[in-house]
Amino acid sequence: MFKRPALLTEKNFHYCPGCHHGIMHRLLAEVLEEFNPEETVGISSVGCSVFIYDYLDIDWVAAAHGRAPAVATGVKRVKPDRLVFTYQGDGDLAAIGTGEIVHAAARGEKITAIFINNAVYGMTGGQMAPTTLTGQKTTTTPEGRNPSQQGYPVKMVEMLSVLDGVAYAARVALNTPKRILDAKKALRKAFKVQRANLGFSIVEVLSACPTNWGVSPVEALKWVDEKMIAYYPLGEYKTPQEGVE
């Protein structure tokens, strides 16, 4: 029977209609239930998902903006048997926290990063993100992102996958039922990689933000296909040679 995963609290999500955080929270709850949620410590970040600790019934440590991978490092080094993950948006992980994510990955820190890329700053009012697409209008690129002025969108999993410390790097999307199942598989694999002590794992999730894209939730699903996946190809960028099926 289809029901709410026990790990999701009864608190209602505060997310906007059509936002994909809700889907991802549910997938995370389902996958963590396959492991041992009681052995899990989540590191929340700053952005739309800042209140994720209200929704998933596990231990949490709330990190400063961008610092979740450093905080996760501290927790994991003290409690190496715990499953430790960060849940970060594109501003958090790919702008202010670039240093922390790159070096946690380079160290092969046995943590998992869940990276929500919706190509925009949601919480602060729809400003340009490091992942904002060329030509995309945001409140700080009113004429659209112009590479001659604002440079180019950052492809994080491609960047990180070349680091030896990274054991698993994948990009998924949530705009079709099949892709949601694929995302769940990737998430499961990332946590298995951590459990097997193989190194750092990251799952980038292309996520819809109808509110700040200025489209309807249904149009946003198409936008993910036509704009995001076109620039950010889905797939596994790095998988371990052995140890995890």
Partner: protein, 355 residues
């Protein structure tokens, strides 16, 4: 048995003996011997030494380790401590215990690597954002590093807050014979609040380490609890050393290594019949205000605060005496150390004035 030990190594060994098993830091002069020592020492005792990519990352690793219930520390110097202020504010906001050692160097900006006490304001008045306090301890010699580092970890755990230990380039680099305290088993208090995974708790309740209180009423309530704690600390934790203050008409006030030079000046001017004494604050916050009451310094006619900066602690001395006694200042800054002759001239001038 006495051993010859460098100040920075003493900070490191003292931390290990106080039960600290985790160090996260980023290299900076003049504190480098702290990480050098711990990189070797911590693995010997089953601990973790991690060289972070920046001081920003280091303090957030400290935050994570503290959140998971560990005794944890970092060390740095001025510019690095500036970068750590974000994390120190979060430690204070989330009520996490941690020890931060600052071996102060000349500033502002890149300044230099010479000894200074220029980070007094930053340490004592709160260098990060928000309404919070940090306990600040100031050892004056290598032996005292051991007692104060142990105290730093104990206070951090007792009050669940960051504690800073302030040294300077002199203290970090000086080698002194020190009687190592006996190795003892350290039993930090239980930390049922730590986010260790529910598995470590019988009742399976969860823990959230956080400094976000989105409702102002709740944030005020949270901060009022912190301020009640701060008042308790101000009542029970101030520490200072008195040196010949009972009959002293001129009271010198200095902290850390500066106090050692000031002490030598007190002895020299006493040879000339001038009744001088020294108050050495050991806790800079809470500031030892009671050392400055009329009953504590009954013969005092004038106070001279001597610092390796342009005049910072002198403000707290003035607040403590609240206009009752005139407070003068002598200091050198930018990495220059006041010489005893210079201080003595100043004391002699004051002596002529108060006669």
């Amino acid at each position: 048995m006495k051993v010859l030990m460098k100040g920075n190594e003493a900070f490191a060994e003292a931390a290990v003996r106080a039960g600290c098993r985790y160090f996260f830091g980023y290299p900076i002069t003049p504190q480098s011997e702290v990480p050098h020592y711990l990189a070797k020492r911590l693995p010997e005792v089953g601990g973790v030494f991690l060289q972070a990519e920046s001081e920003v990352a280091a303090i957030n690793m400290v935050y994570g380790a503290a959140a998971a219930g560990a005794r944890v520390m970092t060390s740095s110097s001025g510019p690095g401590i500036s970068l750590m202020q974000e994390g120190i504010s979060y430690l204070a906001g989330a009520e996490l215990p941690a020890v931060i050692v600052n071996i102060m160097r000349g500033g502002p900006g890149l300044g230099n690597i010479a000894p200074t006490q220029a980070d007094y304001f930053q340490a004592v008045k709160g260098g990060g954002h928000g309404d919070y306090r940090v306990i600040v301890l100031a050892p004056a010699n290598v032996g005292e590093i051991f007692t104060l580092m142990e105290k730093a970890f104990d206070l951090a755990d007792k009050y669940r807050m960051p504690v800073m230990v302030l040294g300077d380039g002199i203290l970090g680099q000086v080698m002194e014979p020190v009687e190592l305290p006996p190795l003892k088993e350290v039993n930090p208090p239980p930390k049922p609040w730590a986010a260790t995974g529910k598995i470590e708790r019988n009742d399976k309740t969860r823990r959230i380490i956080n400094s976000l209180y989105i409702v102002p009423e709740e944030n005020e309530k949270h901060l009022e609890q912190q301020f009640a704690k701060y008042r308790q600390i101000e009542e029970s934790e101030p520490l200072h050393e008195n040196f010949l203050v009972e009959d002293a008409q001129i009271i010198l006030v200095s902290f850390g290594t500066m106090a050692r030079i000031a002490k030598s000046v007190v002895l020299k001017v006493r040879e000339r019949g001038i009744k001088a004494g020294l108050i050495r604050p050991i806790t800079l916050w809470p500031f030892p205000k009671k050392a400055f009451t009329a009953a504590s310094i009954p013969a005092a006619k004038k106070i001279l605060t001597v610092e390796m900066n342009g005049g910072q602690m002198v403000e707290d001395v003035r607040l403590a005496v609240n206009g009752r006694i005139e407070v003068d200042f002598f200091g050198r800054t930018g990495g220059m150390v006041p010489e005893s002759n210079q201080i003595m001239e100043k004391v002699l001038a004051i002596a002529r004035e108060v006669e």
